[in-house]
């Protein structure tokens, strides 16, 4: 006896037909995704496992010993200070310039002029330049050219360079140049996401362009700008190549006291500990501890940026 047509249809619809190729390929791509996350997880777990033990207030904030490879005495206080100093200084340079450039590009410049398009593609290309090339630029331009001329100008006849040597300020400036495109692109995106209607409403009420930008556009774009700024900062915090020749020191007995001093650095310290340690096994706890401190710093910033971005997206979806 044949089942009734509706019953047959119900039977066919509830039987899951698995097309084998699709099933296999879906599984494969899912596996790839998991593999990437697993590698990320393994790296972090390995670092946390070996590094957590060496974390202590003394290790994080204590002053560094001349013998940096002795687990009993090592501490990374000056490195934390140096990294914080160079990143804060960099932020002071890059945020005003980057945000201003983006505002200029989206709100003031004519979108189709060759000058705007040229500036935009220059920014895009800058984003792809390897960080070591920024190191070259920092040494050649900031340290030798700018610093050298400052010395010749301020201290003529003094053979000992004051500005014309690697220094905190040159490292910060080099990093600022490197992160400029990050800030510009993020700010531009945030500005462009704001509907034209809001700008028109403000202008039609007799607001000037400047008032419109400051009172309507910028407050709206702020979360996006912040995300860009934080991403720039977290990228800069972990960079070593641009500061190798522009300011970082292998060891210093005291903290930097002026902009022209060199500094010790957390990320560079990871490099030093991994490649210069006389006995890798003995200094392993300090190495892992330093990596954990560095990761905590950059990850905390990244997580903040991701959270802000999620909130902005949600808000835009509500507006949409």
């Amino acid at each position: 006896m044949n089942p009734a047509p509706t019953a047959r249809l119900r039977g066919e619809l509830t039987t899951r037909h698995r097309e084998p190729v699709s099933f296999f390929c879906t599984g494969l791509t899912g596996l790839a995704t998991l593999l990437i996350l697993a590698m990320l997880g393994l790296i972090l777990a390995n670092i946390a496992w070996h590094g957590a033990g060496s974390l202590s207030p003394r290790f994080i904030f204590g002053s560094a010993d001349r013998d940096m490879f002795d687990p009993a005495k090592a501490a990374v206080g000056p490195m934390v200070f140096g990294t914080a100093a160079r990143v804060i200084l960099m932020t002071l340079f890059v945020i005003p310039i980057g945000v201003s450039t983006a505002i200029y590009l989206t709100e003031y410049a004519r979108g189709t002029s060759w000058w705007t398009r040229g500036l935009r593609s220059a920014v895009n290309n800058l984003a792809g330049v390897p960080s070591i090339v920024f190191g070259l630029f920092g040494l050649g331009f900031f340290v030798s050219a700018v610093g050298g001329s400052l010395d010749a100008l301020i201290y003529p006849g003094n053979p000992k360079p004051v500005w014309g040597k690697p220094a905190l300020i040159w490292a910060s400036l080099t990093l600022a140049v490197m992160t400029l495109p990050v800030v510009i692109v993020a700010t531009e995106e945030a500005l462009r996401a704001i509907p034209v209607g809001l700008r028109e409403a403000s202008l039609a009420l007799g607001a000037t362009k400047w008032q419109t930008v400051v009172r309507v556009v910028l407050p709206q774009a702020l979360p996006g700008i912040l995300t860009g700024g934080i991403l720039a900062v977290s990228r800069a915090a972990g960079e070593v190549a641009p500061i190798l020749f522009t300011g970082v020191a292998y060891y210093m007995a005291s903290l930097p006291r002026s902009l022209t001093d060199q500094f010790m650095d957390l990320a560079y310290h990871v490099f030093v500990l991994s490649t210069q340690a006389p006995d890798v096994d003995k200094s392993r706890p300090i190495l892992y501890g330093t990596v954990v401190v560095l990761l905590l710093l950059t990850f905390a910033l990244n997580v903040v940026a991701i959270l802000i971005r999620a909130r902005v997206r949600r808000r835009l979806r509500q507006l949409g």
Partner: protein, 273 residues
């Protein structure tokens, strides 16, 4: 006056001499042409808009009616590559003359847009925005203007309990009336409306139309609409545009019942467009 019925009801036309005395010509367009790059969007347009009446611009999409509206407060200048010839005078002042302050002009000539565009701020701050721009800081003065504007826009009773809630939480029709309240808070003399009800349902539309008839006592209103019944219901004068040209301009009553041009007749009777 507003009606949901499909029959077109017209306002009784005022006698000509009464109109010229009580409603003198306020905006005068003289041979106005406008180009977007190489494309001409407005062709040699000349006519006058009278004070404290409602003037409607009608015509099929792309006929230049919105473009013309934006010429009246120089919002057209925000678009790249716009070129303009001819003159627009308001009370005899050429608004494109070199000495004119465009900011002052836009304050005097308010605008309401097709899509309601409240700022993502509170209801209160939306209205207070333009006053704050002009440096008004006293709380009492702000409170007063906010209330009066909202009342004038027939929105006060609906929002008085949530003045400090986000304006984005209002319904579409409320948002549009908020935009009107925001526009009249700075006391403009002219109100430009670019299809203010096109995105709204019939009930919200009726409220906006009532509001327009109410505001007409104090403001000169120019409204762009693609809805001919709406034009007939609320406007005193109507201008019909086609392909960037002014085809006919007359009292609404005459234009709809006894148009002088064949094209106008075809359009208002629904034969094209």
């Amino acid at each position: 006056m507003a009606s949901l019925s499909p029959t077109v009801r017209l306002q009784p036309p005022a006698p000509t001499d009464v109109v010229t005395v009580a409603h003198p010509e306020l905006i005068t367009l003289d041979r106005l042409s406008l180009w977007y790059g190489a494309a001409q969007a407005l062709k040699d347009i000349s006519f006058g808009i009278r004070e404290r009446l409602v003037t409607a611009f009608i015509g099929p999409s792309g006929c230049g009616k919105s473009t013309l509206l934006r010429c009246l407060n120089r919002m057209n200048e925000l678009i790249e590559g716009v070129r303009l010839s001819g003159t627009v005078r308001i009370a005899g002042q050429d608004i494109y003359a070199p000495g004119v302050d465009v900011i002052e002009l836009r304050r005097r000539v308010g605008m309401v847009f097709q899509r309601s565009n409240p700022f993502p701020k509170s209801v209160y701050e939306n209205i207070a925005y333009a006053l704050r721009l002009q440096g008004v800081r006293r709380r009492r003065e702000l409170d007063e203007v906010v209330e009066k504007s909202l009342r004038a826009a027939a929105l006060w009773d609906e929002v008085k309990d949530r003045l400090h809630a986000s304006a984005l939480g209002l319904s579409g029709g409320q948002q549009q009336r908020l935009c009107i309240a925001r526009a009249i808070a700075v006391q403009p003399d002219i109100l430009l409306m670019d299809e203010p009800a096109s995105a709204l349902d019939p009930i919200a539309t009726a409220k906006i139309e009532d509001l327009i008839l109410d505001l007409k006592r104090d403001y000169t209103i120019v409204i762009v609409t693609h809805n001919m019944q709406q034009a007939a219901r609320i406007s005193d004068y109507t201008a019909f545009f086609y392909l960037g040209e002014l085809i006919e301009y007359d009292t609404t009553a005459r234009l709809f019942t006894n148009p002088a041009r064949k094209q106008t007749e075809d359009y208002v009777t629904g034969r094209f467009g």
